[in-house]
Subunit: 464 residues, 2 copies
């Protein structure tokens, strides 16, 4: 990386010409763009650009490419694996000004948005339409960032992840070229799938400047259910059986007993403090009733207790609010601690075993407070550890536990991350998961598209 001070100064000078006050080297601004919501140490970029248009992104990249200055794309900074940490300095490109919803095509059930639009913004915008966008990571992330990390959330079991819900993209590659990866047709057999190459590329192949997203019809009716189990196996088997029966379940969230206890303490609720499944069904009035009742029967088979279902919005909201406050509830258990979250995803047949062994490992080898949550219809679960940021021994414990958790998942045919991405934190597992040949192929692609390695360098691909 030829990132000497002269080159940086020259690049900043050229950038200032058209960005003016939207190029900032202010300390506070750089601090704000130094990291994300994870445990990764923040590192500041040399400057931050607040871009307003595709053309500006193109100009910024052309200049940075000319001077070989690292570029770090930045949405809301709500990532969980250090994807926005400026570990090589450089220019942070903040897309939050690019926040227009360009069009909504109701008949085609899609929309075109700029990358800075957040999921809640889109949700509000669509509120009065018959449509919604289903991907809901915990944070109010930007859609550009969500595409870049291949994000998902609680609805993925029915509606898929960003992988299934991005129809096409406009991206700017390292040298400033604007590329359109597709069109508005819902399927195509034409050419290489550039859309999917960019979804999940974490800013290392270019910057997403426009997204065409699939929308889904708002269900006529919604029902929610909850049920409790003595162990994880009963909950996971219920999910497996439900899916195998072809019930088009919309959400199936697992929360462990510690998580339920934390929620009760935080929200004043009185849920049983056992392994819980929170479920949701979408469909016609008749079908959401039928789905809930069928799942009720399945729960009985697998030892579920206190099964309840409802279509009342207030009751449903209470339950999902509890689910959505889970992270805050966890942190309130030990307010001085920092939450260290990691996620893996395994074939669902291995899920109960993977969670059980992870819990055993945590119990045997630490005294940390932990919580387990899962989007278990996908085989995806999170472990959250509460860690005293000043206690290096605790952090060391967590690192060992998560390392073993990831290795366990990979050994079971799974992935080191179901939805958080690789960023800085999971690089060392990439080769273990895919093999050396696949990682070499990824490097070949990166080198071909970004030969000077200016796009988010140091992320996703491990150093050789």
């Amino acid at each position: 990386m030829n990132n000497c001070a002269d080159d940086l100064a020259a690049a900043l000078e050229e950038l200032a010409i058209f960005l003016g006050g939207r190029l900032s080297s202010n300390e506070a601004v750089r601090d704000h763009h130094a990291g994300d919501e994870s445990w990764h140490d923040p590192q500041r970029p040399d400057a931050v650009c607040f871009v307003n248009s595709e053309l500006e992104v193109s100009q910024v990249l052309a200049i940075c490419n000319k001077y070989r200055i690292p570029v770090i794309p930045f949405g809301t900074g709500t990532g969980l694996e250090g994807g926005t940490v400026a570990c090589n300095g450089g220019i942070c490109v903040d897309t939050s000004n690019m926040s227009s919803i360009v069009e909504v095509n109701e008949e085609d059930m899609n929309c075109v948005v700029q990358p800075g639009v957040t999921r809640k913004q889109l949700d509000s915008y669509l509120r009065d339409s018959g449509l919604f966008f289903p991907i809901d990571p915990g944070a109010d992330a930007s859609l550009g960032g969500m595409a870049a990390t291949r994000a998902s959330g609680t609805n993925a079991v029915r509606y898929g992840t960003m992988r299934e819900n991005v129809i096409s993209l406009r991206v700017v590659t390292a040298d400033g070229t604007v590329v359109s990866t597709g069109n508005r047709a819902v399927k195509s057999a034409a050419g290489y799938d550039l859309t999917h190459l960019y979804v999940g590329s974490e800013g290392t192949l270019g910057i997403i400047v426009e997204l065409t997203l699939r929308l889904h019809g708002r269900p006529e009716a919604v029902s929610s259910a909850r049920v409790y189990f003595d162990d994880v196996d009963g909950a996971v088997n219920t999910a497996i059986q439900t899916i195998q029966c072809g019930i088009p379940i919309a959400r199936v969230e697992l929360l462990d007993a510690a998580q339920m206890q934390a929620i009760n303490q935080y929200s004043g609720t009185r849920f049983p403090e056992k392994v819980a499944l929170f479920l949701e069904f979408h469909g016609s009035t008749e079908s959401v009733k039928e789905q809930a009742e069928t799942v009720g029967e399945i729960c009985q088979e697998y030892g579920g207790s206190d099964f309840e279902w409802t279509t009342y919005e207030e009751e449903r909201r209470e339950m999902w609010d509890a689910r959505h406050t889970a992270a805050y509830a966890s942190m309130a258990v030990r307010p001085t601690a920092k939450a260290y979250a990691t996620d893996v995803c395994v074939p669902i047949s291995k899920l109960a075993e993977c969670i059980r062994k992870t819990r055993q490992d945590v119990t045997d080898n630490s005294s940390l407070t932990t919580f387990c949550l899962g989007h278990i219809g996908d085989g995806n679960f999170h472990y959250v550890f509460l860690v005293d940021p000043d206690a290096t021994s605790e952090l060391a414990q967590v690192r060992q536990l998560t390392e073993r958790m990831v290795q366990r998942a990979i050994d079971m045919g799974g992935t080191c991350t179901g939805e958080h991405g690789i960023g800085l934190g999971k690089q060392k597992y990439l080769e273990q998961e895919f093999g050396a040949a696949a990682v070499a192929l990824m490097r070949t692609i990166k080198k071909a598209i970004d030969p000077q390695d200016i796009m988010n360098p140091g992320k996703l691909l491990p150093a050789k």
Copy 2:
């Protein structure tokens, strides 16, 4: 391409060492591997390898790469855009011996197959399980070929195409390296999406040697319906409204009046000879009844007549048999003619207009017999032209009509092919559809992964 006779002879000599009789230069064998089921003129490869294993594929590619010999992957030869035509000579790699179903994981609802397994073979194998694989192109294609062309079929509106149903692949790249693109987790945020890069790459980036496929639960109940319209608009609006209502329709096939007439003549059926919609619903007994009845009401709104629905298997089979014989029924109308088929896909809001304008163009500018069929839930439709293979004027007419049809689709925000692929026939539209920058990016990727351009050269990417 340094494909001189000496190099070819040297390569054949090395291949013969381990392939023995499974390397053939026999004329009949080469003829059989010279093309596909399309109108593209066949061109013979210099020799055909019948490979038995991933290791052999790797050895073949390493040798061909050393001598810069073109390699044409071959499944069943049922493609429709010339993808297996050996337009630069070289070695055809026939994967039909690699026809093992490696494993079926019922709990995880996936299976692992070799590339030569055909869709009907997999269907038979799964018959007694609770699972099925939904992708059903017309032909009994190989699953490797289906992944390579990003195939789909009648179930895509509910279950997606090969794009959504390939979980991961093992591929051999140009130099013989074996790459695993993923694992068995249903979702992952780890690394570049190599799986999707290979799905739809038409053998130009390597050879698929193993596929992990998503399976789906067999529905508890199935209902089918049919209804007729005076024009395409009513049929398309019915499909749009059905999807917008959130009805999880499994199939929605459009057949035009000429097609219905051909089917009646061929099969002795007595369907009304109007624009027909054939529909299918999957779900519980209750829900397939409800879905069919709701769609019945929607049909009325849009001028549908003679709506009938049934859950009886015999009645359903009669209807779908009629749909599946459509191609043969069409050809029987003019037995001396050849069928020339093309497909496009547009946003569904433009579908009626696109079909209407295409029909007008056909009527105004030719006297050819044509049929229109559509997987209209996806906005995808096919036009089939019956052409006297000796009448150059007819062929010229078809070329002009299909060219305008494709341009119309692209102008409407659609794609030049929804499911047939680019092959030889659609190359000239690639730049028009994606723009020069995207095609240049595709070339960059191709060049990085296959620097000597040995993998199916002359396909997908237009000559510069």
